[in-house]
């Protein structure tokens, strides 16, 4: 059975462009008046908000089959289902558990399209790609582990899971599911106000870049069940205090 895959080149070009822009932003020199960053433990809470881009998520293939007298299957047509690249917003609220470990609550919303590529029609109908708008709300809990910290940057690993609701055609159809994430990222602090005194709280402002893999289970019933995976990147303004 022929299975065709869409090219994801435009999506990856977009991601590459986003990376260049954000990388350039992160490379902007800190103000001359900036002080050396204090130890991370002095900033117990972080809040971030920004944009999220989720890559194409293949959902599997299915055939509209008739049953032949010998028990064999005759496909009337084949479908290849996916979620097209989607864009949205993401916010994090993190609490430091240990010098290198934060617990993080994440809320996100994306909007995109569910897609069905229809091919191999038994009676020769032209292949088509059908779509319908969809959106996803998700709330996740994650653990963030800082693997390398410097005065103005931190590299981290992140993993977690949570609940999601996917909507199709506005809110005509709503289905719940489970969503997980695993990935890595970097925070760059370009404005730092250190704490004053031993009990004081400082604050800092920076940029957070995050690349991760989304794992989805259930949600809109758009293809054979199981786990489905998509890449995602986000860019957020982050405040530590």
């Amino acid at each position: 059975m022929i299975r065709r895959r869409r090219s994801s080149a435009p999506f990856w070009r977009y991601i590459a462009s986003l990376g260049v822009v954000l990388g350039a932003a992160a490379a902007v020199p800190a103000p001359a008046s900036a002080q050396p960053a204090p130890p991370a433990r002095r900033y117990g809470t972080e809040f971030a908000i920004g944009g999220l881009v989720v890559g194409p998520m293949p959902l599997g293939s299915a055939s509209a089959d008739y049953v032949a007298p010998n028990g064999g299957l005759l496909p009337l047509f084949d479908t290849d289902m996916s979620l097209a690249p989607a864009f949205g917003l993401q916010t994090h609220l993190g609490f430091r558990l240990a010098p290198r470990v934060m617990a993080e609550a994440t809320g996100s919303w994306i909007r995109g399209n569910a897609r069905a590529e229809v091919v191999d029609d038994f009676e020769g109908a032209s292949g088509v790609t059908l779509s319908e708008s969809m959106s996803r709300f998700a709330v996740e809990g994650s653990i963030v582990l800082a693997v390398a910290e410097r005065p103005r940057s931190a590299f981290f690993l992140r993993g977690g899971a949570g609940w999601m609701q996917e909507l199709a055609q506005g809110s005509t159809l709503a289905e719940r599911g489970i969503i997980g994430n695993v990935g890595a990222g970097v925070k760059y602090w370009w404005r730092v106000r250190p704490p004053v005194g031993p009990q004081g709280r400082g604050h800092r402002l920076g940029l957070r870049l995050d690349g991760h893999v989304i794992v989805r289970s259930k949600g809109l019933p758009l293809g054979p069940g199981g786990l489905h995976v998509a890449p995602a990147v986000s860019s957020e303004l982050v405040v530590g205090f």
């Binding site: 064999g72 479908t79 032209s126 159809l173």
Partner: protein, 333 residues
């Protein structure tokens, strides 16, 4: 006179009635200038079985197979259908006696008909008062658990005929090839209510398909059905003009279920009910895999001069409602 007799010859070479105006292809009759669907109001449906053996099948074996077929329809969780065996009778089916009788009759003149169904209706309401089914004893029959070569399976054909008895017409979910005048062979199908049976020896039609379940659920809806299932409505057009009699297929990639209906107005309108929530690929095709008169009593308006095509977007079906209207623009042949 309130009681009227309406004869249908259905299965394997068939005569259908004008379809109902919503969802699925249901049998209907004209009452007071409008089409009303045929359905039983009084349940359980009480039926008799003719007390006569034929080659390979005793009356008791026939009754047992018919009971299993009724149980399959009654077992549809989203429909409210019940039936009760009332006893054996010396009467033949198709005798006007106000009783529902199922049995064999030898009709060698009907060389392409394995069975048929006939109704007595309330001419005012369209309520089915009685319905007879005959299986054509001119063919060889079997009730063997695994089927028997060269013999048609009683339970499979009874399941199809009982679908008619409940008010369903034919489904077009299948592909056939023409073997000769008035003769077709099934290549593949996905509905017990497809008008052409599998070959002798096959027992696959003992199991209802999703399309059959959607049809009977539409007629005898349970509360769960109305709450949990939705519908797709739309229109089939050819050069901007509605297409009557187009076969509509809706496929749910999430469940793998295929369901069908027809466009039933001159505007090309259709409604496909009994669909589980999800996103559907919807396709329209000409009704060219069975004889037209197996579906519609008047075939004059049925348009088959177009090529298959898909709706321009995915159709979204919510639980207990409809996701809006879609249009399928089909190209001419």
């Amino acid at each position: 006179m309130r009681r009227s007799l309406l004869a249908l010859t259905l299965c394997s070479a068939c005569l259908g009635l004008t379809a109902g105006t919503e969802a699925y292809l249901k049998l209907g009759t004209e009452v007071g200038g409008r089409i009303v669907p045929l359905r039983w109001i009084q349940q359980p449906i009480r039926y008799f079985v003719t007390n006569r053996d034929v080659s390979g099948v005793t009356a008791i074996e026939l009754q047992t197979a018919v009971a299993r077929a009724f149980a399959s329809w009654s077992g549809v969780s989203t429909a409210v259908v019940s039936a009760q065996f009332a006893g054996f009778t010396g009467s033949d089916p198709f005798v006007e006696d106000a009783a529902s009788v199922i049995g064999f009759r030898s009709r060698p003149d009907l060389e392409h008909v394995l069975g048929s169904t006939r109704f007595e209706l309330d001419a005012v309401t369209g309520e089915i008062l009685a319905s007879d089914i005959f299986l054509n004893a001119a063919f060889q029959w079997s009730v063997a658990a695994g089927g028997q070569a060269s013999r048609y399976d009683v339970e499979s054909i009874a399941l199809h005929e009982i679908g008619h008895l409940l008010g369903l017409s034919h489904s077009a979910l299948g592909e056939t090839e023409v073997l000769g005048p008035e003769s077709r062979r099934v290549i593949a199908k996905r509905a017990v209510m497809f008008p052409i049976a599998y070959p002798a020896g096959n027992i696959d039609d003992r199991t209802l398909e999703a399309d059959d379940v959607a049809g009977v659920s539409d007629i005898y809806s349970s509360a769960a059905f109305n709450r949990s299932f939705g519908s797709i409505s739309g229109r089939v057009t050819l050069n901007g003009v509605g297409v009557f009699g187009a076969h509509i297929v809706a496929f749910n990639p999430g469940t793998g279920v295929t369901t069908g209906t027809f466009s039933l107005t001159s505007r090309g309108d259709f409604v496909l009910a009994g669909l589980s929530p999800g996103a559907y690929v919807v396709r329209a095709e000409p009704l060219d895999d069975a004889d037209l008169d197996g579906f519609f009593d008047s075939t004059a308006g049925v348009n088959i001069n177009f090529r298959p095509a898909y709706a321009s977007k995915l159709a979204v079906v919510p639980a207990g409602g409809s996701g809006g209207t879609i249009e399928i623009r089909v190209p001419s042949k």
